[in-house]
Amino acid sequence: MPDHSKVITILKELDINVAGSIVEDSGAPERLFIHVAIVRDSKNKQVPSNRKLNDARHALAEEGITVEFLLTDGQQQDIEAGLRATVLHAFGSNVRNVFMSTTGGSAQVWIEPKQMLNEAVSKAIAEKVKTYISGFNTELGSLALTTGENVPSALACLRAIRQLAPVDSSELLLELVNRGFTVPSTDWLRRRLDMMRKKGQIVRLGGNRYVLSLGSIRSLGTKKDGASPDITRMLALARRGM
């Protein structure tokens, strides 16, 4: 078991103040969890910096001690609480929850809607969030509405076409539904296929059957494992008795 006071001394030398008690990981006692309270300097930079924390991690590793730093950012927690109150106050009937996380200095805001939101409401929520965040000198990295929206992307369509080609739109629709996607209508899928054809991603053969263009096959690439598209395609062909 590593010596905690030694760890604290090493960290103090690097101006890193430990908050709370150091605990060993239950499964791996040589690994320590260390809470560090983060503050912001006048330029809104994190203190201690990630670089300094990394240096500390290396210094401790040389002593044979593995540490996991858990950063507590009091200011971020305040901003997050305020943001939640603001958004829920204005959009309580549309939004179930809001929270904020930070990675690499910019903030990500996550919004969980109560139901599918129309564009006007989404926009209004985004505006509100931007206005609020900008008041704290914090950069908004991204705003995500986690709708769990589930329509197949162009990429997902291409992957399905690759496996079944040549395939017509009704077979493709069935395949996409089998893969767990929601396809709004046959018309929606036809328009999507048309768009992909105009971009040169797929080619239409006789009988309204589609195959990938050479460019698409090259860009999609392949994988050398059990999920290899070459193998899944062979299996799909075999299932169809070809």
């Binding site: 605990v23 309270a37 929270f99 969980e112 986690t146 996607f181 999609l220």
Partner: protein, 164 residues
């Protein structure tokens, strides 16, 4: 599991004996962590069925930062080559969700270890109905399960577009 945690949290607040407040308080942290762990495990098992068996507590952040991130960035690169901007954005969000989720799991696990194995670290009441364990507030612990759910939706929907 989450309702059990809420109940324990409530009990910790209404009890009068400090020994009992401590016991219920630390168990609340434990249950909030487990509720979160189970959410994460169930969702990750849907992405890759073989993960269901191998996901021990310690390995969750590791799997997230390793295999999950790797697959998502590979998907993002393919989407980039196909000029599918929507999927690129989806993967980008999922990647940042993965890091946030790994952080929550680290914090949760460290707190759970303190709750279960370190009785010498006490529950500290900072307000009538607010208490902390080793600097982590119960109101933070309370948010772990639903934060995890939101982040998992972001991860799953990107995953589906590049893997289904």
């Amino acid at each position: 599991m989450e309702i059990v945690a809420q109940h324990l949290q409530h009990e910790a607040v209404v009890r009068t004996l400090s020994v009992e407040r401590d016991l219920f308080g630390r168990s609340a942290f434990n249950r909030y962590y487990y509720a979160t762990f189970l959410e994460v495990k169930a969702s990750l098992a849907k992405l890759r069925p073989q993960w269901a068996g191998e996901l021990a507590h310690a390995s969750v952040p590791e799997v997230l930062r390793g295999k999950v991130k790797k697959e998502l960035s590979r998907g993002r690169n393919t989407a980039q080559k196909m000029n599918d901007i929507a999927v690129v954005a989806l993967c980008q969000k999922a990647l940042s969700a993965t890091e946030s989720l790994a952080k929550i799991m680290d914090e949760g696990r460290a707190t759970r270890v303190a709750a279960d194995y370190h009785p010498e670290i006490p529950i500290v009441f900072v307000a009538v109905s607010d208490f902390r364990l080793n600097t982590v507030g119960v109101q933070t612990a309370q948010t772990w399960p639903h934060k995890a759910r939101i982040l998992l939706v972001a991860i799953s929907s990107a995953w589906k577009q590049v893997h289904a």
